[in-house]
Symmetry: C2
Subunit: 102 residues, 2 copies
């Protein structure tokens, strides 16, 4: 899907491409873990099965405000995603690499 989107975008005029980029940036949604899971069409039970843990453990993770990066990474991977750790500075953003091999 990402590839199709890029191809579609590349075929547009520069003006239109610029508009698409702007829209895409605005669309970077912010949501808590449980909403993200629901948006992905997953139940806590399905997450528990994918992570080989019990359902209450999934509920507990979704309520936490702090956790190990490795826990968060496996949680996001169970939803079919990839965790990205970004340090945002006024001068630009940097991806943090230490945790790529968790």
């Amino acid at each position: 899907m990402a590839k199709n989107f890029s191809a579609l975008k590349a075929a547009l005029s520069p003006e239109a491409q610029s508009k698409v980029t702007q829209k895409t940036e605005q669309m970077l949604q912010e949501m808590p873990l449980h909403e993200l899971r629901q948006a992905r069409g997953l139940s806590q039970k399905m997450m528990a099965e994918a992570l080989h843990i019990q359902q209450p453990a999934v509920a507990k993770i979704e309520k936490r405000t702090d956790m190990y990066l490795s826990t968060l990474r496996s949680h996001i991977q169970a939803m079919g995603g990839e965790l990205e750790i970004v340090a945002r500075f006024p001068e630009g953003s940097v991806k943090i690499q230490n945790f790529s091999d968790l």
Copy 2:
């Protein structure tokens, strides 16, 4: 600086804006914590002072491949940045919100 950049970019033709956006995306660098610190012109000693910890503790954090989100956040804040947790999916990226108030 971010504001000046935005103003400069807004003054460009749509074609040029599109090129700038592309370049900016390519420039999202990936680096480990100690390189990011060096790029920010900071020493381990300065980090230790900002974090009210000992210098060996800073060295230890920079070598870790896993840690609590709160530890990473305070480390990045000591460099003048903000931690952003992103879940990347083929359909798009989502910022994770649970940890905004650490």
